[in-house]
Amino acid sequence: MEKKQLLPSLDRSIDEIRRISGGSSDVLINRFVTGGIHCALLCCEGMVSTSVITELIFEPITEIPPQKNAQGLFHYINEELLLSTDRPQAEDYDTLFRLLNSGFAVLIAEGMTCGLAFGVQGYNTRGVQEPSGEGNIMGAHEGFTETIRTNMSQIRRRMKSPELVMELFIKGEKSSTDLCLCYMKDRVPEALMEKIRSSLEGIELEAILTTGYIRPFVENGSFELFSSTGTTERPDVLCSKLIEGRAAILVDGVPYAVIIPRLFCESFQTLDDYAYKPYYATFIRWLKYAAFLTAVLLPAFYAAIVMYHPELLNSTLFMLLVEAEKKAPLSIVTESLFALLMYEMIREAGVWLPKPTGGAVSIISGLIIGDAAVNSGLVSTPLLTMTALAVLGGLVVPELEPQITVLRLGFLIAGGVLGLFGISLLACAVLVNICATEDYGFPYTAPISPFRARGMGDTAVRNGIKKLQSRGFTVEEYHE
């Protein structure tokens, strides 16, 4: 948009506003005279609270005594009326429209080349609710919302330290989306923050509608299977990451925060781990590691072992599988691919359909199609069991679901074609890819490789809180 300065003539300025907005119906222009000066209060319908405007702006403004000129009027409003706590000035039409579209009311007057804005936001927002994707049993039940300022307040409520810095800035040529960079200034090196800011400066998008729009700008550019940045919809989780010396980005309109950097081991950690006894938390953590490996490798191992390495099975199990697979008309790999792709389709259908219909789809797919496929002999029961176990394993680590889905299919094909040798080759390539993943010099695989013994206390096991508190950990320890 044009960075044109506000025109001093009120009529011409209003004409200019109408021209820029294309006569949009939601731009409201209220002309009035106060203090003997012709003024106009501009606002965007639906973005402001009518009652707040009436009570806090119109009523006091209309009672202003006569002023010499517009400068005097603005001075009086600024110095004596204090109409709202948030009062930025608009020097140009670009800023004016950004403020209008953010729920500000802007006062312009005859003879003035700037406008006074008042924060009177009153648009409808979703309230603070329990996060839908990050379940929690013993922690807080509050999640981020779509309003950036509410999210900022949620973080501030939990972190009252003055070291917590929140830098608001705007990105998106058309959307003018508010972004907020959060970090603890005593925990994150300034050099790292400079690098992050410089990466964010590279954003030249027209609109930022979700976190996925900005993540590529703060991630390493090379091909990475796993993301070196993470997201969370929980303010408490975000605060724990900030304390560990990470940075976060909030995006207005998105109930998720981007965390920089993210480590592989963090996908297996939840805030509940710290609410349980260490032995149980350690058990749960290892259960998740096992579930991840099961989710990725089980169908591939099943196909490879049954097709090429049956000596790995004991005789009873071998006979059982032979009996089951004998009846199936398709090869094991085709059967597995069929079962996995069916599951993916059912899942997609369940996600995008309205909830009641989604539930019905799950029932029809699970009970009717699954049962019919087994009874008709199209898919063997052991294979379906393996597929179900693998899928279940993937649900234990929901954050890695996209990677698990793709890797599971990849490993299945490798195992089906080349047996354990194929699985090993692909495992090498995937392992190297994971190890190559890093963000701003933070290796994704830390503290496993590069090995950091201190980090293993919250990776291989979960040490007691007293022990964890004494280690004074920040993610900077992993920097290479």
Partner: protein, 328 residues
């Protein structure tokens, strides 16, 4: 820029040595163990001389190490083909040269990818692979202890001590990479050498001792004693686990080949800085060509001579690095 840690270089080198150990051919005896340990000790002395002197490789030495990397890489592929009869790789056994080329092509593709991600990520991955590999080998070999006959340790030697020493010296595919990458390691070069050769000696001794105790009785009939020992060691009565060994073996093969490819590509870039784009591919192609030339021969004498030449070249050629270069 120093981009590898001590553990990462050690892991890369140990994987190569373990792969060589797994592919060791012919009967082994207690003398083999002493030969390998003696060979390792000799290598350590030369390596120490290289590490202490802080020498940088000369241009001639770089060309030599490039050829040595191609030779060692060729040996890795050659050994992979030789062992494929014992370690079951689908499609390879029944398809002759095409099966072999398919296997080599797949391994080469993974090596090319590993090489393209850089030394740092390969080093990180090698640490995990080595840890998992050592764990799996330990499980495999510890279960072998149950089936072991320790009397086999005193079976008569079939080769002379000198021959075993040469054989022990030849099991060292990573020496060239050690000399080339030692300068890229963060921290003390001597400490790196000590750590690597100590770990190599310990692991070699453990593997050979167990292999000897388990497969000693059928040694005249076995071609690959370490693989046979792994196949004979079954911890469960009703279930075999030797395919686990195949996984470890394949991972070791890939990282061994990748190390040689990375060494070759690294040297190629230093020798000819303008040759950047296809350097890894060129090294892989030449490595496979070298493997085809070897025709599955073990070439023990040549390998031992090349290893000795590599250590001598590293220790006594090139110029000393200044202190600031070492710390940087």
């Amino acid at each position: 820029m120093n981009s590898l840690s001590k553990n990462q270089l050690c892991a890369l080198l140990l994987i190569t040595d373990m792969f060589g150990l797994c592919c060791m051919r012919g009967s082994i005896s207690a003398a083999t163990l002493w030969g390998v340990l003696g060979g390792t000790a000799l290598q350590f002395l030369f390596a120490l001389a290289f590490a202490v002197q802080n020498r940088e490789l000369s241009k001639t030495a770089e060309v030599f190490f490039l050829l040595y990397a191609l030779f060692c890489g060729g040996a890795v592929f050659s050994e992979l083909w030789r062992t494929s009869g014992v370690i079951y790789i689908p499609y390879e056994s029944g398809h002759g040269i095409w099966g072999r080329l398919l296997t080599a092509g797949l391994v080469a593709a993974v090596c090319l990818y590993i090489s393209s991600t850089g030394m740092k990520s390969a080093g990180r991955a090698a640490v995990i692979a080595a840890a998992v590999g050592i764990f799996c080998l330990a499980v495999d070999l510890a279960s072998a202890v149950v089936n072991a006959d320790w009397q086999n340790l005193w079976r008569p030697e079939r080769r002379s001590t000198a021959a075993e020493l040469i054989r022990g010296f030849a099991v060292s595919g990573g020496l060239g990479s050690f000399a080339v990458f030692l300068g890229e390691v963060r921290g003390d070069r001597v400490q790196t050498a000590v750590r690597y050769f100590t770990a190599k000696a310990v692991i070699s001794a453990a593997v050979l001792l167990t292999a000897l105790a388990v497969a000693g009785g059928i040694m005249p009939m076995t071609e690959f004693p370490v693989i046979t020992a792994a196949q004979l060691s079954q911890p469960f009565e009703a279930q075999r686990i030797d395919s686990l060994f195949l996984v470890v073996f394949s991972v070791f093969a890939v990282f061994s080949a990748a190390l040689q490819v990375m060494t070759g590509a690294f040297l190629l870039r230093r020798i000819s800085p303008s040759f950047r784009r296809w350097k890894s591919t060129a090294v892989i192609v030449l490595t496979i060509a070298a493997a085809l030339l070897m025709q599955g021969r073990e070439l023990l004498l040549l390998r031992a001579a090349a290893a000795a030449a590599a250590l001598l070249t590293a220790a006594f050629s090139g110029k000393k690095i200044s202190a600031e270069n070492i710390s940087g």
